[in-house]
Every structure is written in structure tokens, then in C-alpha cells.
């Protein structure tokens, strides 16, 4: 909160509470997107107000959780339809993590047992300010990542994460600097068959100390149908 209760402080409070007519609410919302000081004031009022919303817990009916899980994670048979719908919505709504996934068959000279699939995918932040192209190389069980937009903030580094279906995310490795990096997939990630999820976050130098992302997660991408053989 500011040192002085000025007009902006009042506007931030009125916006957080919802006292204003529609056009003024919308104007304040737009301003918050580009004005960090104003946005921080709104966040503070939201934090203060959230304390009066501290009611006695009420256990929701079990069906509520079932419905949420069903809506977010429909059973396998419906996954492809849902994914397509999800992708369409993402593109129509301004793109969450654009998923352009192509599986190439890599024909290499040499013994045939060295041939394996190669998957490419793009990780993109919702705001579009950060983009990484990832290539998963199942011959060598490596991932090669290249930044095409954005970077870690000053004094921070990037960290790459991955997980298989219903598995907890784990660190693939740190990406301290440079446009590109090649990382060996950890054994658990190399074993994933099916949908492999990759993500990138920004972390303190040395990486997240919690074992999970602690900074901003720029985005994730699901690579479907990953397997070791062509």
C-alpha cells in the first residue's frame, strides 16, 4: 500500500472489491496489465480482503471432485477429442502453450538398432514473450532445447522439467545460459511411453531448491505417443 491514500489507492481498493460500474472495472483491469505499481496495489487489496473470506470450512460433496477430475482429465478413450478441443480453444483464446508436435523418423546410416524417433515441440508462454523449441531424441535419450524468444530474468537461470502421464515432474537439468542446450533425459523420463510433458521455469542460480519449480513456469507442452521404437 502507498504512503498516502491517493486516487490510485482508492481505485485499487474499489476494483478489488468490485464497487465500480462495468466500464470503469474494465478500464482498471486494462491499466493493471501494463502498470506494475497499480497492479501491485490491487494485489495488496486482494490479499487484505481475502483475510475476511476466512470462513469455517465446509466439506464439498464427493461428486464435486469427481466432476472436476472428469472435466480436466477425461478417460483415455476421450483424450484425443479433448486434446483437439483444448488445442482449438487455446489457439482461439490466444494460445496457452502452442503444441506443434511432429514425429520424424530419423534414418541414420549405420546399424538399424540406432534408429529411433525424434519428436519436436514448442513451449510458449501465454503472453508469447518466451518460446523454446524442443527436440526429444529417443536414439540418444536427450532433449535439445533452443530459445527463440525471451530469457531468464537478470540473476536467474532456466530449468527444464519433464514427466510422464500421472507422474510427478522432475528436473531434467539446468540451463544457465546460451541459446541452446542439450540435456540427457533422466532414466525415469527416458522410460516414459505415451505422453511426455516438458516444461521450462526460471529459477535461482543453482536451480530450484524445492525439487519443484519455484519461479515462473513459462509454459509446458505435451508430446503424445512417445516411444522408443519407430
Amino acid at each position: 500500500m502507498s504512503e498516502e491514500f491517493d486516487d490510485d489507492e482508492m481505485l485499487a481498493a474499489e476494483y478489488a472489491i468490485g464497487l465500480l460500474p462495468a466500464d470503469e472495472m474494465e478500464a482498471a483491469r486494462r491499466r493493471a496489465l501494463s502498470d506494475p505499481v497499480f497492479s501491485a496495489r490491487i494485489a495488496e487489496w486482494q490479499a487484505v480482503l481475502s483475510e475476511i473470506a476466512d470462513f469455517e470450512s465446509v466439506t464439498p460433496p464427493v461428486r464435486a471432485k469427481t466432476a472436476i477430475m472428469h472435466q480436466l482429465f477425461p478417460e483415455t478413450a476421450r483424450v484425443s477429442v479433448w486434446r483437439r478441443l483444448g488445442l482449438w480453444q487455446a489457439l482461439a483464446g490466444g494460445a496457452v502453450a502452442a503444441t506443434f508436435v511432429l514425429a520424424f523418423i530419423l534414418w541414420q546410416p549405420g546399424p538399424t538398432d540406432q534408429a529411433g524417433p525424434l519428436y519436436t515441440a514448442e513451449i510458449m508462454s501465454q503472453a508469447g514473450d518466451f518460446r523454446v523449441v524442443a527436440v526429444v531424441d529417443k536414439i540418444r535419450n536427450e532433449v535439445i532445447l533452443t530459445r527463440t524468444a525471451g530469457a531468464a530474468p537478470e540473476g536467474r537461470i532456466l530449468q527444464v522439467w519433464a514427466h510422464g502421464p500421472d507422474e510427478p515432474a522432475q528436473s531434467v537439468g539446468l540451463w544457465p545460459d546460451g541459446e541452446s542446450i542439450r540435456l540427457r533425459l533422466p532414466p525415469e523420463i527416458a522410460m516414459v511411453q505415451g505422453t511426455l510433458t516438458l516444461g521450462v521455469s526460471e529459477e535461482p542460480i543453482g536451480g530450484s531448491v524445492t525439487g519443484s519449480p519455484s519461479g515462473r513456469v513459462f509454459g509446458t507442452v505435451d508430446i503424445p505417443n512417445v516411444s522408443d521404437s519407430i
Binding site: S50, F55, R216
Partner: protein, 189 residues
């Protein structure tokens, strides 16, 4: 990471923060655990705003779907995990309440402000003020504290409140602005 809360508070907050960041990576088990840890708190808010009915359940479902979909934006909001979760539940419920009233005068609250992260100094200021809002609200004249609560929990704008109290809009606005100024003064003392 965010201010100097006491140890128990910090560990519960840090745990929720970790669950949200794992949700951002598409970790379903983390989402499951986050739901189990927070749904009774968030459902209580939906019930307060919408009553015990299907609408409150629907609002809670929408809230968790937004939480899953927006988990990657969480870390840039500068909020503590509970503030982010509560504000999501409150805004989603208020939007439904207004839709039910067919009130076209008010815009959706939409998603919780995704402004940039607060500096640690700012966060510490918030923490030092934590817990004071209830005392400060009750120090206001009843009509002002009731007005602020009715706006926050029942989705009433200045215009709605003026109509309900049968007073001119300017009178209501001036009164509540005095209330907000007094509230701010109490909290920054």
C-alpha cells in the same frame, strides 16, 4: 520467498506453493493434493456467496479448473497461495451471482490480476498488516463496514448499494470512500 511469516504459516504456504507450481507442469497428483488441502476452505466461500446449492458447487468446480489452467501464472501474481486461491473462488462466485441476477451493469471479475511480482519489501509490508483487516473493519461505523462486506461477498456495486439503501449514488459513494480511507488508515497505522 514472500515475506517473513511465522514458521508454521510459512511451511503450509510453501507446501501449497509447491503444489501449485507442480500443477503448472501438468502434475495431476499435485492437483489432487491441492484440492484435498484447500477445497473445504474454497467451498465455504462459494457457499457464503451463492448459498448451499448447485451454483456453489459449479462455482467451486470452475474455480479449480481455472486454478489448474492458470497455475503457470500464479508465481507472477505476487500473491500468497491462499490469497490467490481465495480470490479466484470469490471472483468466480461473484461472477456467477451477477449472472444469476442478470445484472448487465457489471463486468466479470475474470481471472485474478496477473500483474508483476511484488518486491520482497512490498510483500513484507503486507505480511505485517496481516490479521488487521477484521479489527479495522469492525472499528468502522456499521453501515460502512456492512457496505464493504456486501460489495465483496454479495457483488454489489456503489449503484446497487445506493438503490438498496434508497439513497443517492453520490451519497453512497462518498460514505463508502470514507470507509475505505478509514480502513486504510487503520491498517497502515
Amino acid at each position: 520467498m514472500r515475506g517473513s511469516e511465522d514458521d508454521t504459516h510459512k511451511s503450509a504456504g510453501a507446501e501449497l506453493e509447491e503444489l501449485i507450481s507442480r500443477c503448472a507442469l501438468g502434475d495431476r497428483k499435485a492437483f489432487d493434493a491441492l484440492y484435498d488441502a484447500t477445497s473445504a476452505k474454497l467451498y465455504a466461500i462459494c457457499v457464503r456467496i451463492l448459498g448451499t446449492n448447485a451454483a456453489a458447487e459449479d462455482a467451486m468446480q470452475d474455480t479449480y479448473i481455472k486454478i489448474w489452467n492458470n497455475a503457470a501464472q500464479y508465481s507472477v501474481t505476487g500473491h500468497s497461495p491462499m490469497t490467490w486461491l481465495i480470490t479466484n473462488a470469490r471472483n468466480t462466485s461473484i461472477d456467477r451471482l451477477r449472472a444469476r441476477r442478470e445484472d448487465s451493469d457489471l463486468a466479470d471479475h475474470g481471472d485474478v490480476s496477473t500483474g508483476p511480482r511484488m518486491t520482497p519489501e512490498q510483500s513484507e509490508l503486507s505480511v505485517s498488516r496481516a490479521g488487521r483487516i477484521k479489527d479495522c473493519l469492525s472499528s468502522l461505523p456499521d453501515d460502512r463496514s456492512d457496505g464493504i462486506k456486501a460489495a465483496y461477498f454479495d457483488g454489489y456495486s456503489y449503484a446497487d448499494l445506493a438503490e438498496r439503501a434508497n439513497v443517492p449514488l453520490n451519497t453512497m459513494r462518498t460514505s463508502l470512500r470514507r470507509g475505505l480511507t478509514a480502513l486504510w488508515e487503520c491498517m497502515t497505522q
